[in-house]
């Protein structure tokens, strides 16, 4: 009797879990379905399969959009996201190492400031940032956006790397120092190779953050050919003031979201470790 009761429970729990999952991905299914079908076919809902003609047209239309080709947007986003990932990675790893291994007087205060900075919205810096950037003629340049993203990503990267380095055993480093290795040599030859998993977490999270960002791009990039992929989604698919071609817009959305989703699915271990690391262990 007892076994039977728990089997029923197991079945119910499985049923609930998979039903929830099914409902949860319905909106994603919708976008996917809309993207592979002509708009005329989905105006009564993408779940209407009375006629079903899968096509690649929407993707081609979005990719070669007349005014805002997504092809250009994807390239622009890569031009911004790659350096915006590796610059703060390098600086943040060094700073995090310093925080973990050396003690200096105001260390704890700097550290608390870093945590506070992580929590602030981008709006907190937008106005002065824009004014400063126009003074340096960096508005509407990729360089400006890269600098801002690098600086904005630094706090959490420093914190995350510090936590990682703090957990590494210092004995190996001490042994190397006895053998006469310099700090930098120890860092590059011993510490960095050991920290590859942590660096992977930083790369995954920071790249996705920059790729997904809209606000910074919106306030710093203005000319059409320079606009990033996320910015272009505001224009693609518009067929009138109110009207949208959901098929083309869905195709564009799929292209923009497939990059972070692929990274997530392939490198899930590092993503989760990074996210759990900088939120829980803090």
């Amino acid at each position: 009797m007892k076994i039977k009761k728990s089997t029923v429970m197991t079945v119910i729990v499985h049923l609930i879990a998979w039903t929830v999952a099914l409902f949860w991905i319905l909106p994603f299914m919708g976008v996917f379905m809309a993207s592979i079908r002509p708009y005329s076919e989905i105006i009564h809902g993408w779940w209407d399969f009375s006629s079903f003609h899968p096509t690649f047209d929407n993707f081609i239309k979005a990719w070669n959009h007349r005014d805002f080709p997504l092809s250009r947007g994807v390239i622009n986003s890569l031009i911004v996201a790659v350096p915006s990932t590796f610059i703060p990675l390098l600086v943040g790893a060094l700073a995090g190492y310093a925080f973990a291994r050396f003690s200096f007087p105001i260390k704890n205060y700097i550290f608390l400031t870093v945590v506070l900075l992580m929590s602030l919205p981008q709006q907190s810096i937008a106005v002065p940032l824009y004014q400063m950037m126009s003074k340096f003629h960096l508005v509407d340049t990729f360089l400006g956006l890269i600098l801002v993203h690098s600086a904005w990503g630094l706090p959490w990267i420093i914190l995350f790397m510090r936590n990682f380095f703090s957990a590494l055993p210092v004995e190996i480093e001490e042994a190397a120092r006895v053998d006469g290795a310099s700090y930098f040599k120890i860092f590059y030859k011993i510490v960095l190779p050991m920290s590859l998993p942590a660096l992977a977490s930083v790369i995954v999270l920071q790249f996705m953050w920059v790729w997904n960002d809209l606000f910074m791009a919106l306030i710093l990039i203005y000319s059409d050919p320079m606009k990033l992929a996320t910015q272009r989604l505001i224009y693609i698919g518009k067929t009138g003031y109110y009207h949208l071609d959901w098929s083309v817009l869905s195709a564009a959305s799929v292209i923009v979201m497939v990059v972070p989703i692929l990274i997530f699915v392939l490198l899930q271990k590092y993503y989760i470790k990074g996210m759990v690391g900088w939120t829980i262990k803090g």
Partner: protein
């Protein structure tokens, strides 16, 4: 980091006390912004939105915080003993990985009349008279976005709680079972207390998310219709980069800065105490 982050934060607060021609005017900008209907629009309350950006953010927190945290916790607990849980978790977590712009577009599409699945499901259960473009009406736009953002964000608390549950030793439950504790009692006496540190983090991060909400509003409703789904972060952007009233924008930004700091301090205190 100093140049691009710390200095601008302080400068924002400084600008919020200046007039547009650079004179010090004290709290005048604050008075103007806080008195405007864009921030508080409570005449004749209770009523449907627009209620002002500040109130909208508060409503966002009031609805989104409990919903996303509880559903994340419940999912984490249920999925602990489900076959294929990693797949389900990945599916639910997709909302967190998706760019918020795309998230906003999907929300709008999902709630749209005729083409959106929400209306499709309503028709299916015989509520055809309720179908409409939910984001296009002032009384429903804000709530459609809030529920949409619950859908996007629940993966966050689910993953953190899952990670937390995995750290609770099985012996605790076995010992409790020997003592004859019910599963509900075990949940309240063992699971919840041990998850407390995670709950503090999840609450903090979720409120921060609710205060920062921007992309979703911009693409799904543009704060409308008639400012009915306007929020602080979006209003700040409108002030600064649509009306070029930098001082007023700085006021909203400073308010956001203060709010986020107030929200973060308890978490920092907790972290300091722990170490």
């Amino acid at each position: 980091m100093m140049i691009f982050v710390v200095f601008p934060i302080l400068n924002t607060i400084y600008i919020s006390f200046l007039s547009s021609d650079g004179k010090f005017v004290g709290l005048q900008n604050y008075a103007e912004v806080l008195e405007s209907k864009k921030m508080f629009n409570l005449e004749g309350f209770p009523k449907a939105p627009p209620l002002g950006a500040f109130i909208h953010n508060m409503i966002w927190i009031l609805i989104h915080l409990p919903l996303s945290i509880f559903s994340g916790l419940i999912l984490a607990v249920i999925l602990k003993d489900v076959k294929g849980a990693p797949i389900i978790k990945t599916l639910i977590f997709l909302g967190m990985v998706t760019p918020m712009v795309v998230g906003g577009l999907i929300i709008r599409y999902t709630f749209e009349k005729d083409v959106g699945i929400v209306n499709g499901l309503l028709s299916l259960i015989g509520l055809e008279n309720l179908t409409r473009s939910w984001t296009a009406y002032p009384d429903t736009a804000l709530f459609a976005l809030i529920f949409g953002s619950v859908w996007l964000w629940t993966g966050f608390s689910m993953i953190l709680y899952s990670a937390g549950l995995a750290t609770i030793p099985k012996d605790y439950y076995e010992a409790a079972k020997v003592d004859g504790a019910s599963s509900l009692k075990m949940f309240y006496r063992i699971t919840l207390p041990l998850l407390r540190p995670i709950t503090i983090t999840v609450i903090t991060m979720t409120i921060l998310y609710e205060l920062k909400i921007f992309d979703v509003v911009l693409v799904a409703t543009y704060g409308g219709p008639g400012e009915a789904s306007n929020v602080l972060a979006f209003q700040m952007w409108l002030y600064a980069f649509r009306y070029f009233e930098f001082n007023k924008a700085a006021v909203v930004a400073s308010l956001l800065t203060v709010l986020t700091i107030v929200v973060t301090i308890p978490m920092i205190k907790f972290m300091v105490k722990k170490s």
